[in-house]
Symmetry: C2
Subunit: 442 residues, 2 copies
């Protein structure tokens, strides 16, 4: 094996490729150079010249797998984590979250919250996230600092927001955000996010989708999170939400619908025909009592589905391992069928599936030669992961974020033996504690 | 404050008493002597003679709370963790679990599995568990070694089992088990467990309940875990399962019904009238697609409910923090009401509530003077627990077992700074790996 000049070599352990063939390799040697996976071999025992790489990582007793892809979150909302729980949705939103956002969701909070959220995500195995919030550029700046891969989606609403007091200037905002972020880093992908059909007018939806299309960007929208959304939209527009979006020309392969708890068979047929993709956030929708999306039915129709945590105000953590566990279990009990949403299906959803939803499946989501090196290494030597019959089962039903030992994003080691290398976790926590102290005083 | 001669003093941090008044004390000083909580004060800053205790634990920045009570598990089944998942229930039981138990569930497996399970439970904050399995005495021996508080329930079935080849000798088995364990340790409480109405005849149920009553022991039974159990029992006996048990005189304050996913209003009225208590195991019932117990309705009727993980073959972990998170969320989405099963309600269920179900509420489940010292200390200085507005929310929705730093059971420090002090975790894992290797070869 030729290892001269490699940046990183990972040896030993068990490699879950999550490739199309779902190969599992024992004692692999994974070579990384210039951010890319350049070699995968299985000759660990015979590799005598591995010392020529700048960094050798011994993964004996570990699982090597693609980093997790969180397809939907609102990172700065970690500042509101646990601030108001177990409340009716309208009370939670109108008397707690919206007022707190109106007062505190400035650039400082967004940056501080995003940084803390990234610490939490890296520590729990996420390497790529898709975020939507106010002042989204500050989330991008935090991602540049931490080295995380990010889709940053500028949000749009019809009422004035902290970062966009004049909603009429949407096209200007959109154009500036795209210009600011389109070529900043290969790790950052800008996108647009219309909040929901009940907060964005047909005109807003149309012009932002048009801007997305012209710039070649992804378009996100919360859709049918709650049961009453269908009735609200039908009452206002005489159409079901999915019909409304379809009639406006919103639905295509570059559109990602988030939640989709109340889609019916007709809606799913539209998704399948138009190529709309879905972000599934089961824990948030359970905690908010919003509903359970019919994901097994979507998968049967061939709809692409990724997994997400949603924001920490409605979850209340950003641990994709816990999200996988819940995703596997909730659909089994709702359908009374223990065979749906197998561990393998859910792990795909959190890796290569999520990458596909974010339009990144040609670059990340699996460990294959030529792909960018977004890799996590899981320590499997713990009582709760013993014995080990099936890697997929353990990762979905028993592992948690704290079992992640090392994380590599774009070929750069971001966490090593649970030490974060690109951010100061103590000051990240302290900065958010100060913001929370202000919120508590308000 | 008089601290002379104390065994342990815990100072600093935030104390969640989980007492009837749910007091929360900042900077407490908790004194422990001879296994009992002898003093709780809030004068940390003025405590100059704390050095006279044998052990001083600084809990600054931590939450001090009662250890968690797992009201239902089958510990040795950690040996089958992840062996067979995502299968139809009958396939899972008849082609995987039952054959593996028939071949491997001997004394050696039970002891090794129980020891590993206890390592996992201590590491994730459980201090008391209730177990039911074959060779239950070996679980008791493992508990004596680890210092965990345990209700060990000898199991009964009508077909021959590895530890009871002649099911006709039930009374002898029951009598011997009681005699063997009744006075061994204040930490160990023997009990009896009839598997289910569909695996135990009315005669078996009657004689084992009679034996329980005579010995003053708790009587456990799996009840209405799956939807078809109602039909099976009605077809066989012309009665619903709860009616059957009632007619046999099984239902009283010393009976704990496990699962109860398919109880109806009439059944719940019987529970409330008779004082039957319930063990709720949401993750297992979700993964097996068994059903969701109507816990909010039970609580409204005043039925005592504790939380449990069930065995690791159907969960697949024993982490009560994850179980609490799921318990809080599943009922919200099933009822579409975000106010049910609040974090506080669920935390009670996992502490003082579980203690009540196991008949131990006068001794454990809260931190009050005179109670036995079963205490865990949670490290709250992590990104996923920052900021901190509400302790109950964080413990239920964001914390995980790995946030437990120190554990005390009956006044003895069992884990300190995540180091297990009463068992060798590496050899516990190695012993179960060897058993799993045999299972894989079979």
């Amino acid at each position: 094996m030729q290892t001269n000049g490699l940046d990183i070599i990972i040896t030993g352990g068990t490699l879950l490729t999550m490739s199309g063939k779902m190969e599992i390799l024992e004692n692999p040697v994974v070579g990384i150079k210039n951010g890319v996976i350049v070699s995968i071999e299985t000759t660990a025992g015979h590799c005598n010249n591995s010392g020529t790489a700048k960094e050798i990582i011994d993964a004996s007793g570990c699982i090597i797998m693609p980093g997790l892809v969180n397809t939907h979150t609102h990172l700065p909302m970690v500042c509101f984590r646990g601030m108001a729980d177990d409340l009716p949705l309208s009370d939670w939103l109108n008397h707690h979250i919206f007022p707190a956002e109106a007062r505190f969701a400035g650039k400082k909070m967004v940056y501080a919250g995003a940084l803390l959220a990234m610490a939490e995500m890296i520590l729990s195995g996420t390497t790529t996230f898709c975020d939507g919030y106010f002042f989204e550029g500050k989330v991008g700046e935090a991602a540049l600092q931490t080295g995380m891969r990010a889709v940053i989606a500028q949000g749009f609403l019809d009422f004035p927001t902290p970062d966009n007091p004049d909603p009429l200037k949407k096209m200007t905002t959109a154009g500036r955000f795209h210009a600011d972020w389109k070529d900043v880093s290969p790790l950052i992908t800008p996108a647009f996010f219309c909040h929901a059909p009940y907060t964005c007018s047909p005109e807003t939806l149309t012009i932002i989708k048009e801007a997305s299309r012209n710039a070649g960007l992804l378009f996100f929208i919360h859709l049918l999170e709650n049961k009453d959304e269908g009735e609200t939209i039908r009452h206002k527009y005489g159409k079901k939400p999915v019909q409304l979006l379809q009639s406006l020309g919103i639905l295509d392969k570059q559109t990602i619908a988030v939640h989709c708890n109340w889609v019916d068979n007709e809606d799913m047929a539209v998704f399948a025909d138009s190529g709309v993709k879905v972000s599934h956030n089961p824990e948030s929708s359970m905690k908010l009592a919003a509903g359970v999306a019919p994901i097994p039915a979507m998968l049967k129709r061939g709809i692409a589905v990724g997994l997400g945590t949603d924001g920490a105000a409605s979850n209340n953590d950003l641990d994709m391992f816990r999200e996988m566990d819940t995703a596997a279990k909730i659909h089994k009990v709702v359908t009374l069928d223990p065979t749906v949403m197998s561990a393998e299906t859910v792990l795909k959803m959190a890796t290569i599936g999520g990458a596909g939803v974010l339009g990144l499946a040609d670059r990340i989501g699996s460990i294959e030669v030529g792909k960018e090196a977004d890799i996590i290494i899981m320590d499997m030597s713990s009582p709760h992961l013993t014995p080990l019959y099936n890697c997929y089962s353990h990762l979905v039903y028993a592992a948690s974020g704290t079992d992640v030992k090392t994380s590599i994003i774009g070929g750069k080691i971001i966490m090593k033996n649970r030490q974060l290398l690109t951010l100061d976790v103590d000051s990240a926590m302290e900065n958010v504690r100060k913001i929370a102290a202000d919120i508590m005083l308000s």
